[in-house]
């Protein structure tokens, strides 16, 4: 696939959708659905001023830390839980129990434990990003090819080498799936974490616009979140292509080059 083709494919649909939105919303008088032109107009003044450094960047930093922590924790826990059925049987109901608790009721509990500072917000992000990574890792670890597992056993490949070269690598396609899920979940939880005990942040701003009836600004925030998602997914793909090059190679080996 040439670069040009790639760009056209990546931008084609968005361009069409944006155009459709632009024309459909032009002249809209609906308070909650302002014209796209208005949203675009307020976008730079809303986000490119001091908000970028005061709100957006700190939020992104928290997102980065929370995401990374969830990734590490999820993979580590996932390996332990996935490779031992007794551990799995013991922990699964409890984890499912915790998983089902909605953030709006979970956050107050976290506040009790971690206060109202950045730690709490990072924890909120972790509490959401963890699950996709954990679940996918567990399933990935469980479906390790049995011939490969036997190979490791006979060659007495144990300990760190085994964890890395058998368990993590073979689960990595699923781990990557989980990590990709967690990426957007993380952005969402970044917003949710800033609904509580916050007075700055990207998510806080969006919520504040919503509660202050500044609807075009709110829309611009939503768009910013979406663009953030796209940007992070591009970065993610770059990393993924390095990490999973063997996988994509082996999956497309038979396909047209």
């Amino acid at each position: 696939m040439t670069v040009l083709r790639r760009v056209v494919l990546a931008l084609g649909l968005p361009v069409v959708l944006v155009a459709a939105w632009w024309f459909a919303s032009a002249g809209s008088t609906d308070f909650y659905f302002p014209p796209l032109a208005t949203i675009v107009e307020v976008f730079p003044e809303t986000w490119f001023g001091s908000r970028l450094t005061d709100d957006v960047l700190p939020s992104l930093a928290r997102l980065g830390i929370g995401y990374a922590a969830a990734l590490l924790l999820g993979v580590a826990l996932g390996i332990v839980i996935g490779s031992n059925r007794w551990v799995r049987a013991t922990t699964e109901p409890l984890l499912e129990f915790l998983r089902a608790i909605p953030p709006p009721v979970l956050v107050p509990i976290l506040i009790l434990v971690a206060g109202i500072g950045d730690t709490m917000k990072v924890l909120v992000i972790v509490s959401g990003c963890l699950w996709p990574v954990l679940l996918n890792t567990v399933e990935g670890v469980r479906s390790v090819d049995d011939v490969l597992a036997d190979t490791c056993r006979t060659y007495r490949i144990r300990g760190r080498l085994r964890w890395w070269h058998l368990v993590v690598r073979s689960a990595s396609p699923q781990i990557v799936t989980g990590a990709r899920q967690a990426l957007s979940v993380g952005i969402i939880l970044m917003v949710i974490s800033e609904m509580f005990a916050a007075n700055s942040g990207l998510g806080y701003s969006v919520i504040q616009f919503k509660d202050g009836f500044q609807i075009p600004q709110m829309w611009s925030g939503v768009i910013l979140l979406g663009l953030l998602g796209v940007l992070l997914s591009v970065l993610f793909r770059l990393v993924e292509h390095r990490v999973l090059s063997w996988y994509h190679g082996s999956r497309t080996a038979s396909e047209e080059p």
Partner: protein, 302 residues
Amino acid sequence: ACGSDGDDGGGGSPDQPDKVTVGVIPILDVAPIYLGVEKGFFAERDIEVSLETAEGGAAIVPAVVSGQYQFGFSNVVSMLLAHSQGLPIKIVSNGVNSTGVDGEDFAALMVKADSPIETAADLEGKTVAANTLQNIVDTSVRASVREAGGDPSKVKFTALPFPDQPAALANGQVDAVFVVEPFQQAVLAQGGRKIASSYVDAAPDLTVAVYFASQQLLAEDPDLAKRFTEAMAESLSYADSHPDEARQIIGTYTEIAPEVIEQLTLPKWPAEVNRESVQTLADLALEDGLLPEEADVEALLP
């Protein structure tokens, strides 16, 4: 139970009461409307009210604007903000007022028992929890700070829902909280101390919250709005003069423990909006930068 069939604009025929849905928050402020429905003040005026609860304005305001609810309950500053952004709404009835008595209001600015903070002026450089920021609570607290001779711009606010504030105060995560009932009782129970009654400081007999409707409804069915206003007025007066019944009805739509209900400081429920207090709030909001320009308070008030 959604009243999407109520906005037909034609008004009810005599034997067909108007079905009306009102969006409220399940807190003690709205006791009068529950009481009014029970007492039949609305039925008398051919209005069949169904009350829908939501956690806050996030859902009530858009629901009223889009005609899903005919009326809604909201605090005054939110109304001012919405109006200033051009949202087509109008206040139709008073909602709830402060008691006007310093130290004996249904809401208070509170600190821990052993806190060095004595007055609102001591809050400079300290963190205060407010349920929402850039809204009525922080505006009122700033008024308290100002009145106590402090610089309100030096107070840090952090958003925290009322239910989570007592714990945050107890654990020292914030220096002060501004809570309403029943959380005022909770903070008192853990030994907290009132340092100001900010709703009282903001304006005398401050109108805290109101009932509102969309301008579309007012234009299409002014009669219904008039009857609703009347019924509300009667409900408010009744509740104000029958606090025991008000307390009793609070027990039906909340989960507040009966012994706590007995101790609650009830707000005032005058029948009329305190117009000056709304204007004062609008001025404060302008001063604090919540509003970009002077609000047209008259256009918002009934």
